[in-house]
């Protein structure tokens, strides 16, 4: 089992990649939204690195999950906070680990209940493969191919580090 890389260099790479994508697509005032909990940590770092003007948005997708009828209500749900108008804006959705794509699907649905953004980009710290939906990141700090029974998550907030978790823990 190989060791997982340090997070700070990955964040630097992400910030550089995101700057490039934003410039290429002509986005000057991006609105960053982090997905609870790890996505918010990553989004905070990116927000700072980019010097973004718009305040950071926070999304808890518990009310939009597709497995409510199987696992019930998430007991640790926290309020979503989108402190800007979503209509006609360029959104950068940020998460820590991209796996099946179901969390991103739920986040997109929630964002669209706030308004109709012009564009939504996806930036993730780690793309670990194993997608179950047609969702791909625009920026990824690290790309890995993990086995279905291998899982990693972001621990934090200070310091941020990637850790392996056994099935059922993540």
């Amino acid at each position: 089992m190989s060791t997982l890389p340090e997070v700070p260099p990955l964040l630097e790479g992400m910030a550089a990649g995101l700057r490039e994508v934003l410039q290429h697509r002509g986005i000057w005032r991006p609105c960053l939204i982090g997905i609870h909990t790890g996505g918010v940590w990553v989004a905070q770092r990116l927000h700072q690195a980019l010097g973004a003007e718009e305040p950071l948005g926070i999304l808890d997708i518990s009310f939009y999950r597709d497995d409510f009828t199987r696992v019930g209500m998430n007991p640790a749900v926290r309020p979503s906070q989108i402190p800007f108008e979503v209509d006609e804006r360029d959104i950068v959705l940020v998460d820590d680990v991209l796996y099946t794509g179901r969390t991103v699907r739920a986040a997109l649905n929630e964002i669209f209940d706030y308004g109709r953004p012009r564009r939504v980009l996806l930036a993730v710290l780690v793309d670990r493969g194993g997608r179950e939906l047609p969702i791909q990141p625009d920026v990824a700090g690290l790309r890995l191919e993990l086995e279905p029974d291998e899982h990693i998550k972001l621990a934090g907030p200070d310091p941020l580090r990637l850790v392996r978790v056994r099935r059922g823990e993540g």
């Binding site: 009310f63 409510f68 199987r70 209500m73 007991p75 926290r78 649905n109 706030y114």
Partner: protein, 334 residues
């Protein structure tokens, strides 16, 4: 203990919501925390979340109510459930076997949740004991017993205004004897850690041995309000006037009706609450009901978020239970 096991599943999660009595601080706090997240849903352009999409909620009201039924209906709709409102006039025939017939008919139509209000204490418990395992029951007021969602929305309003419960003096004023709201409030506030809950009422409107619920009893309004952080006035039911409980509404207002001058002895930042609908000039003066300390309309808004939380948690636990059972069965076959 029977009641406790009826409300909770084997993992201690809320399956039905029938009474505050028997629920612990952790669970009540979980409901309040969940409600906090639902408050934000009204900030969305689409004031809805898809949690209960495809589920059917039946408001089964055997007793008239506008506000409670409306907020339950809105709560269910904001969770994307389909809602059926049934107002069944309470009469001697709507009991026992007939009630069960109504219930089984609705279950045959694949309804997933019943919100029940009934003039008889224990009606929601009765229904919860007879529904199928995939159905949840929420008590929206049963006789003189409990009105648990009202008590939780009151607690939620208090927590938002005061930041917590651990330092508060809460005075509940009015007809404690006949009030299911007061019973639920007393259980909720003491469980959540309010150090001093007072009841302020004439002797005729207090249940025997009310102190056993952990409250301080006052018969004088000014004494009862002294130093209070929260003042809750209860609704005085007109029908109580016909009995020997009270001489007249006018006299009640003279002795127990909240006016500005009474609030002078309470904390300067005290809040005034009322479960509604208000009898102006009976439980409180209009100047108090519409005054700067009144949070009565916030209570109404919070009622929706708290009812969304209760419905989402109960339905979630119920489905989880069903899903586990299905997986278990499949496993056995394999």
């Amino acid at each position: 203990m029977a009641r406790r096991s009826l409300q909770l599943d084997e993992h201690g999660r809320l399956r039905h919501f029938l009474a505050i009595e028997g629920l612990g601080r952790e669970l009540l706090t979980e409901i309040l925390d969940t409600a906090e997240s639902f408050v934000g849903v009204t900030a969305q352009a689409v004031k809805k979340v898809p949690l209960l999409r495809g589920k059917t909620v039946v408001n089964l009201f055997f007793e008239a109510s506008t506000r409670t039924r409306t907020t339950f209906e809105l709560a269910a709709k904001r969770l994307s459930a389909d809602v059926l409102n049934l107002n069944i006039p309470a009469s001697a025939t709507v009991k026992g076997e007939t009630l069960l017939d109504t219930l089984h008919n609705l279950e045959a139509m694949h309804c997933d949740m019943f919100v029940v209000r009934h003039a008889d204490s224990g009606a929601a418990h009765f229904i919860a004991r007879h529904v199928r395992s995939g159905t949840s029951v929420i008590n929206a007021g049963d006789g003189r017993h409990e009105h648990p969602t009202q008590a939780l929305l009151d607690a939620f309003t208090i927590r938002r205004a005061k930041g917590g419960f651990g330092h508060l003096v809460v005075a509940i004023v009015g007809d404690i004897l006949h009030s299911r709201v007061a019973r639920s409030q007393i259980h909720a506030l003491t469980t959540l850690g309010v150090p001093e809950v007072r009841v302020v009422a004439p002797r005729t409107l207090l249940p025997a041995e009310v102190e056993r619920l952990g409250v301080h009893v006052h018969h004088d309004l000014r004494e009862g309000l002294r130093g209070a952080d929260v003042v809750i006035a209860l609704r005085l039911q007109h029908e109580r006037m016909q009995g020997a409980f009270l001489p007249s509404e006018h006299e009640y207002f003279q002795l127990y009706g909240l006016r500005e001058e009474h609030l002078a002895v309470a904390k300067p930042d005290c809040i005034v609450m009322h479960p509604g609908p208000i009898n102006r000039g009976v439980e409180m003066a209009s100047s108090v009901a519409d005054g700067p300390r009144s949070v009565i309309l916030q209570q109404v808004s919070h009622g929706i978020a708290v009812r969304m939380a209760v419905m989402a948690l109960a339905m979630g636990a119920t489905h989880r239970r069903e899903a586990t059972r299905e997986v278990g069965t499949k496993g056995e076959r394999a």
